[in-house]
Assembly symmetry: C2
Homo-oligomer: 257 residues x 2
Amino acid sequence: MPQYRITLAYDGTDFEGWQLQGRGGTVRTVQGVVEQALARLAGGGRVAVVAAGRTDTGVHAQGQVASFELPRGMASPDLLRALNGLLPPDVRVLEAAPAPEGFHARRSARSKQYRYVLDTGSVQLPSRRRFAAHVPFRLDRARVEAAAALYLGRRDFASLASAGGSVRTTVRTVTRSEVGWEEDSLTYVVEADGFLRRMVRGLVGGLVAVGRGAASVDDLARALLARDRRAWPAPAPACGLTLVRVEYPEPGGGVLR
Amino acid sequence: MPQYRITLAYDGTDFEGWQLQGRGGTVRTVQGVVEQALARLAGGGRVAVVAAGRTDTGVHAQGQVASFELPRGMASPDLLRALNGLLPPDVRVLEAAPAPEGFHARRSARSKQYRYVLDTGSVQLPSRRRFAAHVPFRLDRARVEAAAALYLGRRDFASLASAGGSVRTTVRTVTRSEVGWEEDSLTYVVEADGFLRRMVRGLVGGLVAVGRGAASVDDLARALLARDRRAWPAPAPACGLTLVRVEYPEPGGGVLR
């Protein structure tokens, strides 16, 4: 059957995350609405969709990648248009393309990039409240940057693993961990070969704890080495987080974005 | 009684505009929620609030100014904090200050600035849909800028007046009318000594009609001179519009923002 990959953007505010929950669909999930739209396109049968990142409740995407098979082939521009016609306005297909045989949006992914936006002024503009968390504290720039640098490299992130997670390994390689500063706002960009569940929110929780002086950079370094969830500061809220991009190795050896 | 002025930001999406409608408040308006919060602060009696701009349903604000009297004086930082504690999250008080005797947020205003954001790509990112209108057409830059220049100066905007409006004069002086361009997006900023109801949405409707080739710049110039609403292109949607700033003459002759 013909394989496809689509790039999705969504406002996660009104979704209980990506993943389909239970049967019947009483819970609104992104996977649920995408599969519903594809089932209509495919003439009724279920079309199972796999996403690169199973984003949590309230987490957004700007470059989520999903893969699926259709019973019959369809031109990519038609697929894009038809899906956007069927999807609710808080989910949009930005790109659609045929995928190579055996492509799997999650297993084939080489790296992912997330962005976290934090408003630090005393009052948050209502226009920002869906896509930025509000932490009304002055954060120390040098300390936040020292904490962000701690995350770089191949590390065991067991201290940031969620309870009940069942991953083979908690070791991940973080290749980018950068903080951008604006007046009363901070944008954190992190890239890795993979992320544990809630890991980015945990990383940001660490930045906030250090930035406001609740923990020192050394405390955070020790908490990372402890491989113990209880040692780590509280995770940052979901609303500030967006899955920005997923990269795949190209058949020729290059990178497919 | 002590007079106050506050600067307000709100996400207009879930409001039926600024102005209180009828009695009892079955309709959610910004004035309604602000007066409700002030009544609680004032111990129960109604506190009538006047706004600089009576924004329409779905229109946002980043620098709306409102004035009112309180039965008893209150320190400005306390007023700001107390109001933000009582208001819903889609309305925030950014500033609070004592106002001079006789200050009236609407009648004392010297000029207002509005911003309109228009996304012109084929697909709009869900993260932008609350604060930007989506017009999926390529707009001709030179033509849009020529249209924006038409609006400058002291003009009779009768062609942009809403039906049922009861203003004394439809003459306004536009002091700024500028278009900023980004990839797949356009930001229009307009400043005037005052605006007729729905005037900014009408001005943007004119820019879009000319930009996509539905009307020439000359057609638009003629429609403006016609002083006839039926001659003017359809107004742009409310969601792209934000009241950015209101300016007042300072007692000393300067400008109070």
